[in-house]
């Protein structure tokens, strides 16, 4: 797998012999984009932060992988953490940061000790005075959002805040801050050092009703059928969920899994999470399970998400138990649209994608449950 290639500090050595602007150009040319779900061009983000004049700048490695069905960052931290750390060092050097934080989700606490050891070793080897600290999260999906991470590290509630100001200009402790995903940073050394680095290779997290769930490296654009073949379906796959926030589609083996296709279907490919769901599962029940997730993880700051996610769950439970009427489905749909349009952050905005796509692809299951 490309992601498991170990560069062993060679990329760092190359980086420190280059000017930061040249590093940014290189990363930009090779088209490295964020792998946390937002797909923002990494070079651009680094460029904004580098431009800022400040004695203090920060790099935050977003290891708060929380999207259900996603475990690719865990895979990297277990199998090639050195690349991630090398990427962190290179990023710090490029933007001018002396302090980096790895915001590691609490649920991955068992990785902390091992990571600490490797960090100490690599910092020694690099001879740099860059400091890398691990900050453990405490269980909040919303803290995967970049402004929420900043608030969380600052000791506040992990609520997102309004942008502008953008983190690259005014972020952690009001200083220029770059927040990058684990997989993005782990690719940085490969981008710098591997001439044959393929930007289209992504880590797909496959799980659900599969006999061989796991992390599979494949090119964006692979078909659903090919993905399922790798994962070995358990039963007949009816639907595919792109995590909880990405929505669902009917399983069709020829569907290309790339950003455009998935986007046109009303879904979000995000960080390439694919959950396979077989015929034994009711889509209505799936919707209730996912609605429960968002109701539990909503931070509570804005009205539509705070109050709305609870009402979405209530409506879906009502439908699931068979107490609902057709107008409840209409209300469910309208509420989903309003939450999507009026929520303050990405969590709220994507909290109802699963409802809207379930209704457009499996409406009959909902209608059958109503009187």
């Amino acid at each position: 797998m490309q992601i498991l290639e170990k560069t062993g500090m060679k990329a760092w050595n190359k980086a420190v012999s280059m000017k930061p602007d040249d590093i940014i150009n290189l990363i930009g040319e090779k088209k490295l984009i964020g792998r946390g779900g937002a797909c923002f061009p990494t070079a651009k983000k680094w460029g904004f932060a580098k431009e800022q004049e400040s004695d203090d700048k920060y790099l935050i490695c977003n290891a708060d992988e929380g999207e259900p069905g996603t475990f690719k960052d865990k895979f990297i931290m277990e199998n090639n953490p050195e690349n991630m750390i090398e990427g962190i060092l290179i990023a710090c050097y490029t933007i001018g940061a002396k302090q980096a934080y790895i915001y590691l989700r609490r649920e991955y606490r068992y990785l902390e000790k091992g990571l600490k050891k490797i960090i100490i070793g690599m910092i020694k080897k690099s001879g740099t005075d860059i400091n890398i600290e691990i900050i453990l999260g405490a269980g909040a999906y919303i803290c995967g959002e970049e402004t929420a991470i900043i608030n969380s590290i600052e000791g506040k509630r992990g609520e997102p805040y309004l942008k502008p100001p953008y983190p690259a200009v005014e972020g952690l402790f009001s200083k220029p801050t770059v927040i990058d995903n684990v997989e993005t940073l782990a690719n940085v050394p490969l981008v710098m050092f591997d001439e044959n680095w393929n930007p289209d290779l992504r880590l797909f997290s496959l799980s659900g009703n599969l006999k061989k769930p796991g992390i599979y490296e494949a090119e964006v654009g692979i078909t659903m059928g090919e993905l399922m073949k790798m994962g070995r379906p358990d039963g007949k796959i009816k639907a595919v969920y792109f995590g909880c926030a990405g929505g669902c589609m009917s399983f069709k083996k020829d569907t290309k899994v790339d950003y455009d296709v998935i986007d046109k279907a009303g879904c979000m490919l995000g960080s390439c999470t694919v959950i396979a769901v077989n015929e034994k599962n009711s889509i209505v029940d799936m919707a209730a399970v996912i609605a429960k997730f968002f109701e539990f993880e909503s931070c509570g700051k804005c009205t539509p998400c705070r109050e709305g996610t609870m009402r979405i769950l209530a409506l879906l439970e009502k439908i699931s138990l068979g107490y609902a009427k057709p107008k409840d489905i209409e209300l469910l749909e309208e509420l989903s649209i309003v939450i999507r349009d009026s929520a303050l952050c990405g969590l709220g905005k994507s909290s109802t994608t699963h409802v809207l796509t379930a209704l457009s692809n499996f409406r009959n299951e909902f209608e059958e449950k109503c009187r």
């Binding site: 909040a140 509630r157 509570g300 804005c302 009205t303 539509p304 009402r311 303050l344």
Partner: protein, 557 residues
């Protein structure tokens, strides 16, 4: 620059938000969590408008050249209505049935929302055991205004959001009741709440009962701030002096005597100026810090035990007057003190707590806020504007301009300096206005020479500024601290809204009152000169200390 707002091309300036532009052009956009004088957090989502096809909060989105904004199209209305329905299902639904004058319920009426399609949230326990401030979490719409004020202006954070998602609520630490916490009762949160989820504790029923009880001699006293603020509740401009009508209304409500807290303020100055001079002579803890603000006192008792010896031992004006009413006045009139009920009308919520403090609880029986007083007047269907001016009762109704200043930040300082200077030096001040301590600047300071000592003084208002000034407190001889921004005219009991523009106008009203009164120095008050001669004895003497001075306690968090 130019933006397109509801199909009209509109000129606007750099830095304006869409909401600013709309307001300037008389285009209505409802808002809830947005507070004037504050950066917006865009929590409530009521002010959403469509900007280039996406819904954005107008309170925090800055206008950009060529922006296309729609404030009333289908998407906007659908989102606005549904978010209001979601809020109303959390806010007590009874408000919807019996429309109260809450900002939220007004919007419901304005938007013509007839149906709330969501089930109500779980019922929550009231926090209403405190004397000063009460909370009804069922009404709370989590707009965050109270938290913003308590955290960013007062720098206290007695309340904050806790828990997550729809379980999140505004609460003191560990779900305590407010009165169990380090809340200082300043009531700035009450001023900010758009739905009366936080209000003052209601004492109108007790006062009405006392008035109706023929065995009781019910005396009302009105704070300096009231005469410049009460009029707002009846449609007057902020700062309009309505002293005469205020007194007339109080009589119509059935109070047996209408006295003026201002004479209590004069008394406070006489005692406090004397205390200051004594402290300077004997080098006892300096600086001396004013203690008439119970919010500041409570703060010191929780957080600054080291400053307690610096607090003036003087009671606050209404407490002093209450003590005088129940002793001097009672004796002279031949009324038993236990048959007297003293009611103070205050711009303040903390004074409800102050009047119940163990060491002073007999002086003042009930405190009503300006708002409660206005409510009582309206309840009795008194046509305030048509009232003929009346005068306070004798003798405890005569006061000076110095007392009138008490309601404004810097007023206590100015009044005290007028008396301290003249009584210590024996000279008359050439200019009796102390401009250095007037105005809304957060921290003000100055100095004056008294008997070849340069007395340095400073003033701060709003707890954020208070804490800032205290960093350098040792530089001064005398400090006035007010918990509320603007001083008492910005108090938690004042008419809502209370913005900076309104605070300024109320202050102007008080400066006008001082300017126009024949007597302007507390030590010249003839009623008090007589009171000392025939009853109180020496200024700062044993009897004065017993009646007019108090003590403080170290409290934990």
């Amino acid at each position: 620059m130019q933006i397109r707002l509801n199909s009209r091309d509109i000129e606007c300036d750099e830095g304006m938000t869409i909401l600013d532009v709309a307001k300037e052009n008389n285009i209505r956009i409802p808002t809830l969590c947005h507070q004037e004088d504050f950066p917006s957090e865009a929590r409530c989502r009521v002010c959403l408008v469509e900007v280039d096809g996406k819904l954005m909060p107008s309170c925090s989105t800055k206008a950009r050249e060529g922006m296309v904004v729609e404030t009333e199209n289908k998407n906007v209305k659908r989102a606005r209505h549904m978010n209001i329905e979601l809020m109303m299902s959390a806010h007590m639904q009874s408000c919807f049935v019996d429309v109260k004058d809450h900002a939220l319920c007004r919007i419901v009426a304005e938007e013509g929302i007839k149906d709330i399609r969501f089930t109500p949230a779980k019922e929550q326990v009231l926090d209403d055991m405190g004397r000063a401030i009460t909370r009804d979490p069922n009404k709370c719409i989590k707009c965050g205004r109270c938290v913003q004020v308590c955290r960013d202006i007062q720098n206290i954070t007695a309340i904050d959001f806790a828990y997550r998602g729809h379980h999140s609520k505004v609460t003191p630490y560990f779900d305590k009741d407010l009165h169990d916490s380090y809340c200082i009762k300043c009531g700035q949160c009450v001023l900010s709440c758009p739905v009366e989820a936080i209000t003052e504790q209601d004492h109108i029923p007790e006062v009405l009962k006392a008035i109706a009880d023929s065995r009781k001699h019910v005396v009302v006293q009105t704070a300096p701030s009231i005469r410049a603020s009460l009029g707002e509740s009846f449609g007057n401009e902020p700062g309009t002096l309505v002293k005469g009508k205020m007194v007339a209304a109080a009589r119509k409500l059935g109070f047996d005597r209408v006295f003026d807290t201002n004479i209590g303020a004069d008394l406070t100055i006489i005692e406090e100026a004397n205390e200051l001079i004594e402290r300077i002579k004997n080098n006892r803890p300096l600086p001396m810090i004013t203690s008439c603000c119970p919010g500041w006192v409570k703060y010191a008792e929780h957080f600054r035990h080291d400053l307690l010896p610096h607090l003036s031992t003087c009671k606050s004006p209404h407490e002093m007057l209450g003590a005088v009413i129940k002793s001097y006045y009672a004796e002279k009139q031949g009324i038993k003190p236990k048959d007297i009920v003293v009611v103070s009308i205050m711009p303040c919520t903390a004074k409800k707590y102050e009047s119940a403090r163990e060491e002073m609880k007999d002086d003042v029986d009930y405190v009503l806020t300006t708002r409660e007083f206005a409510k009582m007047i309206k309840m009795h269907k008194i046509d305030f504007d048509k009232l003929e001016d009346e005068d306070f009762d004798n003798p405890l109704g005569l006061s000076t301009g110095a007392a009138a200043l008490f309601g404004a930040t810097g007023g206590v300082m100015e009044a005290a300096l007028r008396t301290a200077y003249e009584t210590a030096t024996g000279k008359t001040l050439t200019k009796i206005e102390f401009d250095q301590v007037r105005g809304i600047e957060g921290i003000k300071s100055g100095d004056i020479e008294i008997n070849s000592i340069t007395i340095k003084f400073a003033v701060a208002h709003g707890m954020g500024n208070v804490q800032e000034l205290l960093k350098s407190y040792k530089e001064y001889h005398f400090i006035e601290l007010m918990a509320c921004p603007g001083g008492c005219i910005g108090g938690g009991g004042q008419p809502i809204p209370t913005t900076w523009a309104i605070r300024k106008k109320r202050m102007e009203g008080l400066y006008e009152e001082d300017h126009n009164l024949p007597l302007r120095k507390s030590h010249e008050n003839p009623v008090l000169i007589k009171a000392y001669e025939e009853y109180l004895g020496e200024i700062g003497g044993r009897k004065a200390h017993k009646l007019l001075h108090t003590k403080y306690f170290e409290r934990d968090l």
